[in-house]
Symmetry: C3
Subunit: 351 residues, 3 copies
């Protein structure tokens, strides 16, 4: 169960560079492509002629051409032409609202009349020359909410990421969870500790001593349907921690867009935005590589957890203080799901 | 759904050379082998002793010996002997009518009392020294009718086979479909065009200039249950096209026997019969290799189309003029299926 | 269907050396590990916190630590601690009776109150310096009873193992099956034959001539739920066969513990115990390697047979004299299953 009247990250621009991309999102099979003037478009991945996936075709003059018999599909889901055929009476396929913004392609899989681009989240670090961003995509076989849980409870770093960002001090510092409207914030502060390897490297990357005690913070922010932005960083101890002046700290924003493919699989867009040395592309690449390795450590755990939960479907899980972020996030998701169900029931009655 | 009271190509003789072959055809698990005097035989792939597949065994003195405990099976589905056992009371397994003809092994998976070898199609090019044949086998995950559609609408060559036999002139020339009893014929003629790479090579192979305009033809002939023979060729332009004298043309017959394995998978026997340079085995090999590469280009499209059709089970597909061959072929198939259903109902009443 | 109130071999000690082992046995997902003082323990492979498999974690101070968020599980299925948490109210998970004996870890997947370690079979060759043992583990996709059938009817050696231990004389000598309480014994004796390659090597390994006629024996002993011990050997012909003095024979015990994973898959622990040259580790390794190759020859046959039986679910199989061992073994298994069903019904009534 996932909200459909919402914007999900569907892909990154490079994925539709010169060719269409077929991708299932919220159980909808969609093909993404660049239509006229480079505008992004998304339609069902189904040719109305003989049912071939349009994603096996190519783009010509802004039209998506079926690779089987040449039917040309427009960005509105209407066939624009086909060699030797009159296409006026051809059935349309579904077109999906789609927007390119902040370096991502966003798609709306629900009621198209409600698709307001203003609902796409503001990302203050995107399109800002003081910030750099690098990231990647993982295809993971788990319910999107398990990934939200994972990201809202960083206690797992001590175990899953013991050699990079994990350290015992994380689980020793109790987190605090607050709900602010549709936002859930789980924060954890650790003072006067030694920096783990990843943060030592970040300190060096920011031209700071890496062998002195630091204050460390993790501020996880969930917003629906399944975005998690995490402010993370370290400052030389006693300089103010999270509020320390820039010259004493290395910090960044862990960026997580979790897009359901099916009930038990996701497209996981992960990355990191930083506001130090933003022009240093080599540093961006190095951070992405390091983050990619660390985030890959979660995948086996999440997929194994998912398989276990399917087998033990009746078991209740614990909801400890460390699970507060995930628990609150699920409450918001549940409320949105209920609203969607009510709203579509209303529509059914009205029509 | 496929007709069962009909002959399907099961395998080629080399596939049962020295060992049995297990193959599922029309959902029947069958083992093919050479019985006494090299006569081909086909029985259920199930040993009545402990259920092992007989195809894991071997042939000895014309009997199929189970590779688990040595039960010997005859070509009639009756156990002929077993070490240390009296076999008279052993249950029989099903034997299938099977005929070796025209370089193929043909099997009848329906009512054996109706299996008339005279119903095996005549192939004038087989067993004829003026003709050469080369071909291969692909295992494809699609409904056999999707492959019939594919072969009866060669418009797809422009897209799927753009670099070999495809050219824009194909889709610009409207095909014509005729039904002649149980035969469906879809023809397309293109005049004064340049030959695509495959046909340039064929012209050279026939000692003809390959850089002059040609007339090209494609005459697809469907006969039930799922055989498609396609007369294809080019002639130097203005020499009479399809009817041009042999010294001005290169032509051949594309041979397609499509045998259902299950509702959504097939054994696809493809090949080419030609009547020029029939003794040139190297040419035969070269053509087979080229055809194999071209025909492999269809597989991903057909399997993707099949998956799409299973997901969008309720969608109606278009039936355009280019689809006429496939549409008419399905009508004939549907009639045969209906006749089979009626006939077996009659049998049920009578018995 | 498999008895659950019984001891199954779960794993060998090396498999839980320094790390936990997750393994499904009788449809139960279990994690095995060494708890305090090296005592073996087995609990459900499910962390009560968030459902992660505990087998992805590690052992610390005899506690099984979840690799996701650090919950510590004791060998009794009760959470012993968790960083920053009070664990008293945490739900327990199931603990399984488990015993390390005879070089194997044994688990009881049924009613724990009935788990009597004295019911673990005595293995006279284990823990005995006059004997050596070597073996391995195969994961096979078949019903455990098909493997019992296989081992109680060695006729198959003539076919499946033709190049190593098979020989026509096996199927020419009729076996005899006796039932002795819960034990089924199938014996076969062959006199004055030539030794097949495996036994020639064993004769040489025992410093005996390998090119003289031998007497050969195979005595298969089934005990429930699914253990099969086979006394096998050859003696120089005329020296007394099975009863010949040690200096004229090479013999050993084929050891088979067949542990159901699911209804159609098993953990197959195979090996060989011998009482000649027991200190010769190189010989042990050589025998294990040879046996491993021979026993691997059965797997394709058994998995193919299993698939066939699932497809032909309604067919009755033959029960010949050679099948007597398997047939009697199934009778005992069926009786045990019936007793278990009755006993649990009684319990239900009583409670």
């Amino acid at each position: 169960m996932f909200p459909k009247n919402t914007w999900y990250v569907a892909c990154t621009p490079d994925e539709i560079d010169g060719k269409p991309l077929g991708r299932t999102i919220c159980n909808e099979q969609i093909v993404f492509f660049r239509a006229e003037q480079g505008k992004v478009a998304a339609v069902e991945d189904f040719c109305p002629h003989r049912g071939a996936p349009l994603s096996l075709g190519f783009v010509r003059n802004g039209q998506l051409v079926c690779g089987y018999h040449g039917l040309e599909m427009g960005c509105d889901g209407k066939c624009s032409s086909m060699p030797g055929q009159r296409v006026r009476g051809f059935p349309s396929i579904r077109a999906y609202p789609v927007v390119e913004r902040h370096g991502f392609i966003w798609v709306w899989t629900g009621d198209a009349t409600l698709a307001d681009p203003d609902k796409i989240p503001e990302l203050h670090w995107a399109n800002n020359p003081d910030w750099a961003y690098g990231g990647g995509l993982y295809h993971v076989q788990c319910d999107y909410r398990l990934m939200v849980d994972n990201l809202m409870d960083l206690t797992h770093e001590t175990y899953v990421h013991a050699s990079s960002i994990g350290q015992p001090e994380i689980e020793e510092a109790a987190p605090e969870t607050k709900v602010n409207g549709d936002e859930v914030i789980t924060s954890r502060y650790m003072e006067n500790i030694s920096a783990p390897p990843f943060w030592q490297a970040a300190l060096r990357g920011n031209n700071l001593a890496d062998d002195v005690p630091v204050d460390r913070w993790q501020i996880c922010r969930f917003t629906p349907p399944s975005h998690v932005m995490i402010e993370v960083g370290v400052a030389h101890a006693g300089k103010g921690g999270y509020d320390a002046p820039a010259e004493f700290k290395a910090s960044s924003i862990v960026v997580d867009f979790i897009t359901p493919e099916t009930e038990t699989s996701i497209w996981y867009f992960w990355g990191m935005a930083r506001n130090f040395n933003p022009q240093d592309q080599a540093l961006t690449d190095r951070i992405r590589e390091g983050q990619g390795k660390i985030f890959a450590e979660d995948l086996d755990m999440l997929e194994s957890q998912q398989r276990n939960l399917l087998k033990y479907a009746d078991r209740q899980l614990l909801k400890l203080n460390i699970d507060g972020g995930g628990v609150q996030a699920r409450r918001i998701i549940d409320r949105l799901l209920k609203e969607e169900a009510t709203s579509s029931a209303d529509t059914a009655v009205a029509s």
